[in-house]
Every structure is written in C-alpha cells, then in structure tokens.
Symmetry: C2
Subunit: 429 residues, 2 copies
C-alpha cells in the first residue's frame, strides 16, 4: 500500500484500534513538517487541490452516485446534504482558493517589547498539531476542514459519515494531489478508512496524537464526542439565542431585528428562539411584530402577558424557555426590565448569542458586560454570529466554551501562541 | 454560622462532598457579582486586605505558630516554606498592593472594527468564573492567588495544605475584611474548611461550579489533579529546559548563559537541565564552562564526546536526558548541529523553555519556529521564563499546555474573551 492509499484509507480494516493509532502516529509526524511549511507551500497545496477538484468533476460525481446508490433509504434532508452536484463541487474548489487567499496566521510575532532586563519578549502564533474532525453527511466538510487545518499548519484526521465514504475518499484524493504537488507529506490529510463506529471511540482516546477534536453534526454526535474525548473539544451544543427589547428600544429597530433573527433562517444555531420584551414595550412591539410573524408562519408561544396582547399565542411552558426549536416557533416572554432579562438569559440560555435592542448607552454597556455568552450584541440580529460576518474569512465551528476559542472560530482557533524571548547574551541577575 | 465563617470554613465538616458543593454553589453566585464589579471596588478590596494583613501581624504569626506546633515533624525545607515571619507577611501585603496597581484586564474591548454589513465586531475580555487553587505548604499562596482571581473578576476556592490550615484561615480572614470593606460578596474568596483529602476529589468533580483548577505544588499533586479534574487544569508537570550552543555561537555569551541558566537557582522549573553543544563548539565552550560549573559544585553527566573533553564528567544514560534534576547536576550532550538539537529537545524535552545561543539569524529563526515549547529563546538564559520578567506583573503559574494560556500566566490567563457586536438596527440580508 502506498502512502496515498494509506491517507485515503485501505479497502478493508481488520484491526480498528491499530488502524486509527497508525493514522495518529503518521499525523503527528506530518504535523512537524507542516508546522515549518512556508506560506507558499501551503497555498500551493490548496490551489493544486482546487485544480484537482476542477479536473475531477466526473470522478467526484460518480463516487457520490455510488454513495447515494448504497444508501437509498436516507430521508430527504439527509439525501440532499449528501448530494454533490456541479454547483457544490465548484463551491468546494472556490472554498479552497478562498482559504489560500487568507493571511497565514502561523509565525506571526506580536507585542515584541523590551523589558527592563534588556530582553525582548513577545508571542508567536503556532499550530496546535493534529486536529481530528468528526462529521456527518455533508462531504464538502472534507475539503473545507482539511483546508483550514492545512493553512493553519495542522495535520488533520477526517472521520466522515459512513454514507459519504466514497465521496469523502474522492475529495481526499484531490487534497492529496495538492499536498503532493507542494511537496508536503501525504499524511497531513488522512481519512479514517473504515465505517466501523468503533473508529470514533478509538480516535477520541488518542490523546497522545490528537490535540483537538471538532465534531460537526447533530447534537447526538456532539454529545458523544464531548463525553468520550480525552482531548479538548471545540463545540457548541445548543443555540438558545435571545433578543431582549429594552424599554428604551426603538420600535422600528426592535421589530426589524426580531423578525430577522427569527425568520431569516430557521435551522441555524444563531437563530433567535426566545424574544424577551420589557413591559413598557410589549404592546407597541408585539402589535407590530405578531402580524409579521403570523404572516411568516411562525407559531408564537408566550407567557400570560404576551397572550393578553397576542390572542393566538399558545401558552408557553417552562420547557419552551429551554427550547432550541430550529423551526418556525418562537417563545415570547414579557419581563420587568434589564435585570429580569439578564436573569432569564442566565437561567435558560445556552451562552451562544444574545442581543439587546436599546437606545440607552448605560443598559447596552450592562448587557454587554453581564451576559455571559460567546457573542453579545446591541441593536443587531443574532444571525450575524458567524465567522464570515465577523471577518474571520472562514469558520471551522462555533464554540460556546470559555477556553481556547470562543464564538465563531476561524484559522486562529486552530492555533496556539508561545512566548519568544530574544536577547544578546542576557542572563538573569 | 455567618457568611464570613462560611468562607473561612467551619470548625468541623461532617459531609465533605456537601461542604465542597456548597462552596461551589456560593462561588458561582459570587462570580456573577464579581464579573460586574468595577475596578475601583476590586482595588479597594485588595488595598483593605493589605491593610488587614498589616494590622493582623500578631494574629498571623500566632496562627502560624499553631500550625508549626501541630506539625513538629516536617522536614527542614517544608518547615521553612510553612513559616510566616515579619518579612514574609510584609511581602504578602506588598503583593496585594502590587496586584491592585495592575491594570484591570476585565471589560477591555479590542479590535472593534466595522464590517461590510455595517455592524462593528470586536472582543471583550471577561472573567472565567470560578477558579479552584490547590496548593501545598506555602501560606502566602492564599493571598497571592486570591488577589489575582479577585482582580480578574473570578471567585476563588482555595484548598491549602493541611499543615497550614490555621495560617490560611488567618490570611483568608484578611481577604474577607477587604471584600467586606469594598462591598463585595464574602463568598468571592472561600477556603475549603476541612483537611480531609476527600475534599480535593470532591472539588475536582465539581465541573458545573468550577471553571478552571490551578494546582501549585509538587509533581505528585499536579499529576493527581490532572488525572482527576473534570475541568481544565492550568499546569506544567516538568521543566526539562535546554540550552543549545550552536556552531555559530559567541563563546562568551554561551558560557555566560549556560552558567546562569544552570546555577542562578537550582530548584526552579526554568533552570537548564540539559546543555546541548554543536560539535564544533564543544572544545571551546566546555573548556571554559566546565571549570566554572565544577567551581559551583555542579555534577556533570555527559555523552562520550563530552567525557573526552571533561574527564570528571559521569557517563550520562538515557534517563539523564529525561531528568529534571532540580539540583546541581547538569546533563551535557554533543550534537551534530541544529537538526539534532531540535530532535533531542522534541524527544526528551518537556515543552517548557528552551534556548539557542547563536549569532546566525537563519538558525535563530528556525529554532524559534520549530521548537514546540511554551517559551523559546535566542541568546538569553532560560531563567527569564517568568511572569515578572515577561512583564505580566504577577504569575498564577506556568502552563506547558497549548490550550488557553501557555507559558507564564498572569491576570489574562484567568480570563476569556467574548465577541461584542454593535449595530444600529442592522439585520442580516
């Protein structure tokens, strides 16, 4: 078996633990080479991988057809996510070229300052080492995640869904062609070569080889990874996002933001799930917002005060305050004011993204300081919580943890910093 | 039992798990208040705590005498570390005033930039929440750690060594006097009220209440905490630090740096444990360095090439390359050049602090980029790896992990960042 075959995964794997361990060992060695790869080589690999995808359209579509033929019983949304067509293949290649165009974060030295002792002290951005990505049906994640890891100088081990195995192999082959053209090690990008679920468990126990794992998929997958991983996990579980309309809100802005935060897309983690309205604003805001939500087909579930103003609102229960609907449903609650809104968000929220609508600077300052979420917003739609909207250039995921990266995570979230000290023979007195 | 008594710990604890859980719950509530405490209040608490220590000299010395009387069998270094005298008490108070004088990291918003959509996006520095500190005999850690946590807006749970219980209680009482004077919650600083070792296990399982744990003490303590903690641990296990003398080194600088890195202090984690010398420099460097090390009483353990030049050097074994002596012993190895030096450091090092001595810019660049340690240095002594030397103002510990904080860790290592978005009614198109 040659090196390329090893990275795509052998046809049959008999010993899952040994296979995964071998991937880890090869990745660790590749990581050393990647950490010192220059920007030109990494970009060349990405450009050549994009060219391989362009040239490989037919093969990619054939591999994808094979996946779909082997899994005829997938439900419609899953089958759609699995499908690769011309447009999606072009988007993958374009994505690789966009990552190539991003600034290389590695090696950046910042804050290099002279200390009284005469030494200069600063920090240098460096790769984490080896990243494992565990994901479900969308095969484009193979190219996206590999590109971000490669650009940030990390080796990557990919474990895609079993239903996308042929597609993922074909895409990985394009990534390997890029690595080869740039003279970078093939084991910088490796696909787990078995659909055996035990491979995930084996990968999550590989703490000596894998520095971070990124699960991308449904809640069940993320919970399993969080539970079993022996290494740090970059993740968010829920997106129970709130918009709080303060009594000093501008009604136009409040209605516009609430409508956008709920209806621009229903299935995303940064969609508003609960609207909180200060007592004084309940009538003016809900009288304008309710008809618009109704018209959009959004079911409203409210507290008593809401139902007095919106007769067709269903009575909300405790469960509604915790719910991430990912659907055209909105929980609405009238609160006394800012303190009660912050208490509600602290109690029921998921620390993902929360917004206040207010013209009052003092309240905006308090909301920003006191709401403990990965993104806090003033007078803007929660839908903006996104790596592209924030200017990160690309996004590997969103983290609601406080450690390492928090909020939308781009290339920098795949890096660490180390101290750099430069002297000229300096010793400590 | 009043609130102050609860923070110092009750006289007897019957249910250890319930006691520790109650501390966690109280800390979580205090953390919310501390997160929004203004700089003036936090500084006032620190200044008043310092004043309480000044005024409490007699009580502190009496409490410390009681600890020493109850533990007459401690060995000399432990007994010394346990002892509080006038000088050490003054140093504690001065330390609190130094932390008060540091800039408040909390609330700092950086990189607030307009995006094409019109929103402004930046990040705000925020506290982690609740920090647990687990430490051994030195009672001054009680004041130092509590001060850093308080200044960074975190609640802290302190678990000191059983031999220092009375001293720790007396110091905690001073911290509580400071909190009271500033109107901050007493449960912002809490001491575990039992010397039962089960309390450590209970604390390490409290992941819903404790955001990070910092072990300070011997390797056994740190290993236990790393193994059992369900939350992130800020730590370093070993300091196997290297100085590599490159063939383009200046001999004067090499000798000065190596001597300082080994002999300035023997028991610290940033002391050099292995000296690597390029073949071409072995004779000129060792002929001058060996007599100086000999004179300082340092035992030399070398490879064959070293022993040919330094006849009294003991033969080094594989174990010497891994050893953190923390003693007047130095392992010395002759290597072919930079690649072999980096390989040696990668294989045997602990990723703490490593230095190259060279006048060659290209080799300095490679060493800085390729050595994967928390501090990498050019022409400077490894002894500089220290929060004060780096200008952090204070140090809670040194981390050799790549996640969250790395290298010497000051106030910023006790914080996280969240995204802040400011719009004026902006919605996503």
């Amino acid at each position: 078996m040659n090196e390329t075959a090893a990275s795509i995964g052998p046809a049959t794997v008999t010993d899952v633990a040994a296979h995964v361990r071998a991937l880890g060992d090869a990745a660790r060695r590749a990581a050393r080479a990647l950490a010192r790869a220059d920007t030109r080589s990494k970009n060349r690999a990405l450009q050549e991988a994009a060219a391989a995808i362009d040239a490989g359209h037919e093969a990619l579509i054939a591999a994808n057809a094979r996946d779909r033929a082997e899994h005829p019983d997938l439900d419609a949304p899953l089958a759609d996510r699995l499908t690769l067509d011309r447009r999606r293949i072009d988007a993958m290649a374009a994505g690789l070229r966009e990552v190539a165009a991003l600034a290389d974060p590695i090696g950046e030295i910042t804050d290099l300052r002279y200390r009284p002792s005469g030494i200069q002290v600063g920090t240098m951005r460096v790769p984490l080492g080896v990243i494992a990505i565990i994901y479900e049906s969308r095969p484009n994640v193979t190219a996206d995640a590999a590109a971000l890891c490669l650009k940030s100088g990390n080796a990557v081990i990919l474990r895609g869904g079993s239903e996308a195995l042929h597609s993922n192999r074909a895409i990985t082959a394009c990534m390997l062609a890029g690595l080869a053209a740039a003279g970078l090690p093939q084991s910088a990008v490796q696909l787990v070569g078995t659909t055996d679920r035990a491979a995930v468990g084996a990968l999550l126990g590989l703490e000596e080889y894998v520095d971070m794992v990124v699960p991308r998929g449904g809640k069940e997958l993320i919970e399993r990874v969080s539970r079993e991983a022996r290494m740090p996990v970059l993740k968010h579980l829920d997106g129970v996002c709130h918009v709080y309309v303060d009594e000093r809100a501008d009604v136009d802005k409040a209605v516009r933001i609430a409508l956008n935060a709920k209806t621009q897309r229903y299935g995303t983690c940064n969609t508003m799930e609960t609207l909180l309205v200060a007592e004084a604003m309940a009538a003016p805001v809900l009288s304008r917002l309710a008809p618009l939500l109704r018209q959009a087909g959004v079911e409203m579930r409210g507290c008593e005060a809401v139902r007095a103003l919106v007769p067709d609102a269903v009575a909300a229960t405790q469960e509604d305050w915790y719910a991430e609907y990912l659907a055209p449903i909105l929980a609405i609650r009238v609160v006394k004011g800012l303190d009660e809104a912050i208490d509600h968000i602290t109690t029921y929220g998921s620390r993902h993204t929360d917004a206040i609508v207010t013209e009052d600077l003092g309240r905006a300052r308090r909301f920003l300081a006191e709401v403990d979420s990965s993104s806090v917003m003033v007078n803007a739609s929660t839908r903006f919580a996104d790596g592209y909207e924030y200017g990160l250039g690309a996004e590997i995921g969103i983290s609601t943890d406080k450690f390492h990266a928090r909020g939308p995570v781009g290339l920098e979230g795949l890096t660490s910093r180390k101290y750099v000290v430069i002297g000229d023979g300096h010793v400590r007195e």
